[in-house]
Symmetry: C5
């Protein structure tokens, strides 16, 4: 559970709402279903045009990571790889076959199978790097859905604002309608700027950092698997992999 993400949203919302209250405003004066519909709908539409279905669906799935980041136990995986290298030393690469079958991590399993097949280190690296970068590209695009959303909400907010002002201009003769138009205009701006800066852009960066960590985690596995293929001794492999710890 990423407690910081949850608290961050609360802190930001509280700052806005308490600030509004202390100035003597009602929370009501910041609420407008119409303004929200314009900003949310316009942004959603732009996102749908921009991303293919596969990435659009993936972006919904990875959004959870902002609050419940995927687990990656660097220490455990180093221990596991050192263990593999010990087995490979004693029983040969074929000794990894049963371990490969019970391995649950997809990426590590692929590495083990390549070892058992007796592939060349360079082949292993090339296959695993392509796998890593293909998946990384996809995840990064999913994170960029939120980056794009953070780019569109302020501009759609401006469209909402200008529409409100046009409404005001067309009713200059009837001052009673003046207030509502300006309200929607300004509230659309707040929704647009607020959603971008307090939700979408921070989410996008956190997702990118998580994806960077995942890739580095996989790099570590690649390094370990190749070292086993090259027959390096377990102690050296451990030293090498520990450089990835931070």
């Amino acid at each position: 559970m990423d407690i910081l993400s949850v608290m961050g949203i609360i802190v930001a919302l509280a700052a806005i709402l308490v600030g509004n209250y202390l100035e003597g405003g009602h929370a009501d004066s910041l609420m407008s279903g119409v303004a929200f519909m314009i900003v949310a709908g316009g942004t959603l539409g732009a996102i749908m045009v921009q991303f293919p279905m596969k990435i659009f669906m993936l972006s919904i799935k990875v959004s959870v990571w902002v609050f419940i980041p995927p687990k990656q136990d660097h220490h455990a995986v180093i221990e596991k790889i050192v263990n593999w290298s010990n087995i490979a030393r004693k029983e040969g690469l074929l000794g990894l076959e049963t371990i490969s079958e019970s391995e649950t991590d997809e990426f590590a399993k692929k590495g083990l199978q390549l070892l058992v097949d007796g592939s060349e280190p360079e082949t292993i690296r090339s296959i695993m790097e392509v796998d890593l970068s293909t998946k990384e590209h996809l995840s990064l695009q999913a994170a960029k859905v939120y980056e794009a959303a953070g780019g569109y909400t302020p501009t759609v907010g401006i469209i909402g604002a200008v529409m409100g002002l046009i409404h005001v201009m067309n009713n200059l003769a009837d001052p009673s309608k003046l207030g509502s138009g300006i309200a929607v205009a300004f509230i659309a701006t707040i929704y647009g700027v607020g959603l971008a800066n307090m939700l979408f852009l921070p989410m996008a960066t956190k997702l990118k950092l998580i994806i960077h960590d995942q890739s580095q985690f996989k790099e570590m596995i690649i390094e370990g698997v190749i070292s086993i293929a090259e027959g390096e001794n377990p102690r050296n492999i451990e030293t090498k992999l520990q450089s990835y710890l931070h």
Copy 2:
């Protein structure tokens, strides 16, 4: 058919128009042929200065991809390449000659011909990589036509807005003309910001993602053809190419 692109445009338009209606405005108040002419004409002109004829025409052609993306069947092509490698094993590289003649994909055909000619793996890679990057550069420029359009519409919208305001200033004495000037001013802004954020910029990114996929697809073909040239066994080639699946 990219259903998401179609729905995205509908969702965005609906959000704006329904939002306008709920505020009590008429759809009419957002219509202005003059504002559209300024924004569309100014942007079109800038685009024509910016891009050479070849890229300008290509950008019209690729715009279809946003709604009907080009088909790329990764699984089918892997199967095809594995099949080639089996033939090459049994009948030698010359056995690929008849297949090369009936191959419909231009890029794959080029690879097959290089194999049949008995070219060195490094030569094959260099020739196919140059071909890939030359075509990729051209397609990317076509996608950038929409990126550029998305950059120009808001600024041309501002020109339209300021022209409207000058008109208002020159007619301060005649308040009846005030409304029309401000209307064009604001509507030009909406057209500029709206076209950029709900059409051109999302289109540009979707096109870039499609082009990235095409290049990766071709990378996969290059990898396969080179593996055949190096005489790798079909099972290894399959494993290697499957890393490109996502």
Copy 3:
């Protein structure tokens, strides 16, 4: 003749002027010698501080390319190089000496001379790549003069606008001067945004695309010359160079 560039400028200007006319404004209301002097002079000054004399002069020279792009016949040069490789096969590299003397393209001539001198392929590549990138850097800077101009005109336009507004503020008591001040203010903005988006920025990109094509053209020549130095057969050289066609 790049007909698109000429038409682009006409289309953009027409959109603005006809739009202004349809709104009921006079073309006069968009004319201000003072506003033009501020925007043009301020931008010219900034450009002069920014670029050294050599690049400043070159930018004037290359501006012609936007309308009359330099000719580059890929097919002709491939034919020429294949011809050279045939001569080299029959008469040896020294057979290229007379051809080298009559070659008019500076870059190709340099390549021929290196061949005749019997330089190593790696030496030829390194010498020609340095030559290419030195010239490319210079041309790109010349293109960036227009990019920089496109960056400065809007901000100088804002300076003109604010100066106009200060003028208005200082004459609040005399409303008859109000109009002229605001006019200059707004017209300076239009000149700044318009020159940037409908002239300078599109010019800069078109120039960059032309320079990219030139570099790729030279890359093709380098590839051909090196292939001759390596004694490859003419048919292979032709296949290789055709990958550069688009």
Copy 4:
């Protein structure tokens, strides 16, 4: 002690406050607890969503570096490495064992241990480069916390400003409340723009420069350790390392 950082903050604040005073304003007119709460709270919240706990905590720790930069004595470390190479020449790599135990710099100690273990130069480089880049990535993210803060404060300031303006709009009938609304609106803008440009963005860049220096310092150590592993003579090592001095 980085005296320039301290003086910089004083100079910037003085310019603002004295400027305000000379215009005839009271310092009071720039103070608003509510505006500060909105800007600080909104930005803090966004930062908390954006960065994982580890980087968030590290960013607090490295903020001290802006005023008390970490010490890095290039001359001393060159002398130290040359000394190691002398010992390695006389006593063999094992002679570095006692020195390795008493070395206080973590990174240098790691290098010494790899030397004592008799690792290959390429292995040493790969292990130490991974260590360097893992730590560098983390520190750079910590610096980017301030960059992000500098990106969010102006936009949150705009949210505060628009909220103030909504408040004003809702109280048009009661002019006595007009002033307070506009005040918060404008002060939130000043806080947002001021914090970004006079504190967060400059801090972020100074931290990045410090981190760049640290990485270069470590590069120098890697170069030295590898040269010892390759058995180069101490005088050459000294020449080599002195290129890192600036």
Copy 5:
């Protein structure tokens, strides 16, 4: 003497001041010591926080280059290097010892000493490249001081403007003070935008171009020194170095 830099500043200033005069404004109306103090002081403070002392001092030193660029005679240095290669051919590398002692250019002297010491070409390249990039990084940071200044002046100008507007708001009852507040507000904007676009940003780019030229000049020296170390013949070295001419 870079006459273009001097004329550029004059042209830009003249455009502004003559423009102001032609509109009927007094130069006085653009003068405000307070506005200048706010913009200059705020920017200076931000710069002081952002850059370490060494870079801050260096930025003052290199600012002269904008008007008096450092001399770099490519032709002379090529001649010099060809001369060295002739000596090395006739007298061996040790023959360069006396020349090395009298060489005034620091970088060339370092190269000569490495030659006299009989260092390997790869060692020479690595030592000289590190030297080049260390110094280049420092100079580029000094140029970035002006880029940063150009980024801060407009935003500090906005702070000055908003402060002026707050002042106006607090004195709505006393219209006589209205003018002065708005004046400072607008003048601060002009100073901010003007200093950035007509001085700091152009300076930064010119400095970067000069530094790029310096680095290329050094690259040429490295190439020459290494060619001598590899015993290439003087005529080839001359051909190679002439590719750096533009």
